[in-house]
């Protein structure tokens, strides 16, 4: 049976089930809007580890173990782990997964990694290549800042359009049996680049990719935006969210009533993060907590989750290249 639908989408024949999720965040996220939807809030960004990178690895390992615990399975029952993060050579992920000694595929999709891992996990399960898969991502504010921008003690002023990298990790267990929301469809995104070069405007750099994937998803599946109770993008922030609404309107689709961005859901306004949250963990901690809860208590029944990633590197922006964006979508229904 051909599961490919349209140009870029997949309709799963036996939609894989997300049987459990877990998340962990830093103190700043813990003081934010989704406080009661986090499984663990660390007291500080180091949590007794020597380095920020070690702390990030700890978070990912913790999230995967916690998700397995909630699912009442042992780590050995996971056939494959799909995970990634923002650091060079997936440092945090590799040191986290090392301790779990399970088959592992590392992914890099910048901040779209959570959705990329859910999407590929669903493909593995629906294809009959595995029975249980763990999908996870993490990001750490200070570890990301030192790699991409400035040392944290440097006295620089962030522009109002800048976003704040989330410290946290989220993990989900996908299974062929069990109960929970199902991944019914997925759309694999293309790289879209509208020539944005400012690394403080990542929402703007990723918005066209999100719009492209959304548009392709609706074309391929024949669904309309109103089919979904809510459409969520990963980490576009307030600026990118505004641009997605505008660009979709130009294409003739109005999504104002059922569209939100995970990056606008984490921090309170007075936390002064400017345009909102970013990082792999932005979509991961929101989905593996708040959204999963909403699905389980049927407050939301059909959601489209669009992970957005800006695929620049420290070398590429120093060489004055523009920021390529990517977005992948998964439809999760209960």
């Amino acid at each position: 049976m051909n599961k490919k639908q349209g140009a870029q989408s997949i309709a799963f024949a036996s939609p894989p089930i997300i049987t459990s999720v877990a998340n962990i965040v830093g103190p700043m996220e813990g003081e934010g809007l989704l406080q009661q939807y986090f499984d663990h809030i660390m007291p500080d960004n180091l949590n007794n580890w020597d380095t920020w990178e070690q702390c990030e690895s700890f978070m990912m390992e913790w999230a995967i173990r916690a998700a397995a615990n909630k699912d009442k399975i042992t780590i050995d029952m996971i056939d494959c782990i799909l995970a990634g993060d923002l650091l060079n050579q997936l440092m945090s992920t590799h040191f986290a997964i090392k301790n779990l000694s399970r088959p592992f595929l590392g992914l890099y999709g910048a901040c779209s990694t959570m959705i990329e891992s859910l999407l590929l996990g669903a493909i593995l399960l629906d294809g009959g290549f595995a029975n249980k898969v763990a999908a996870a991502t993490s990001s750490h504010h200070d570890a990301a800042e030192r790699q991409y921008r400035f040392p944290s003690e440097l006295g620089v002023q962030r522009p109002p359009g800048a976003q704040w990298t989330v410290t946290g990790s989220g993990a989900a267990i996908l299974s062929v049996t069990g109960s929970g929301p199902r991944i019914t469809m997925a759309t694999i995104g293309k790289i879209v680049d509208y020539g944005i070069k400012d690394t403080n405007a990542m929402g703007a750099a990723m918005a066209p990719a999100a719009v492209d994937t959304l548009w392709e998803h609706f074309q391929d599946t024949g669904r309309m935006p109103a089919y979904y109770d809510m459409i969520f993008t990963g980490d576009l922030g307030s600026v990118g969210k505004e641009l997605v609404i505008q660009l979709m309107k130009e294409k003739g689709l109005n999504i104002t009533s059922n569209y939100q961005d995970c990056g606008c859901m984490i921090y309170r306004k007075e936390q002064d993060t400017h345009a909102g949250a970013s990082g792999c963990a932005s979509s991961a901690v929101v989905f593996c907590g708040y959204l999963y809860n909403m699905l389980m208590n049927s407050s939301l029944k059909k959601i489209l989750l669009v992970g957005t990633g800006s695929l620049h590197s420290t070398t590429s922006y120093q060489q004055k290249e523009s920021i390529p964006g990517i977005a992948h979508a998964v439809a999760i229904e209960i």
């Binding site: 020597d50 400035f150 003690e153 006295g155 522009p159 509208y194 020539g195």
Partner: protein, 160 residues
């Protein structure tokens, strides 16, 4: 298609360029503007205060008998220490967040730009961490500062 493989990729075509410019305009409208007046006031007040502290220190050193040049050299050293100290206890970045150029331009900002990376990269050790990364922010200032002073020196030497 073949052209693209054989030759260096051609610079953006016109249509793409127009699309990008159009999008940039949308981005500019959607991006909030920095509160210019507030930022200017903060920079003015904080920058002014740092300079005032500097002046007080100079006055103190002159009052205990140093001549003008010695006093200003000592004041510079004290300000550098203060900048480094405030960076170390995690205050200077909070000041910089509000004051912007007001706390970057004075010499305390220069101290901050050296101490901050030194702190950040201490986990990579004394050689490849602190030693190699200490000047990652201030390095360009030193390089171009030295070059500029050589050029000015040469001009001065030619004129006299």
């Amino acid at each position: 298609m073949l052209d693209r493989i054989k030759n260096k990729p051609s610079k953006k075509n016109l249509k793409q360029q127009a699309q990008q410019e159009q999008y940039q305009m949308k981005v500019d409208t959607a991006t909030p503007k920095p509160p210019l007046l507030k930022n200017l006031c903060w920079a003015f007040v904080v920058g002014g205060l740092i300079c005032m502290v500097g002046q007080l220190i100079i006055d103190y050193f002159t009052s205990i008998g140093l001549d003008k040049e010695e006093a200003s050299a000592c004041a510079t050293a004290v300000l550098i220490f203060l900048g480094a100290f405030l960076t170390g206890i995690g205050v200077y970045d909070k000041l910089g967040k509000r004051a912007g150029a007001g706390s970057i331009v004075p010499i305390t900002g220069f101290a901050n730009s050296i101490v901050a990376p030194a702190m950040e990269f201490r986990r990579e050790g004394y050689v490849f961490g602190i030693g190699a990364k200490m000047f990652v922010v201030a390095g360009p200032v030193l390089v171009y500062g030295v070059i500029t002073s050589v050029i000015v020196g040469l001009l001065y030497w030619i004129r006299h």
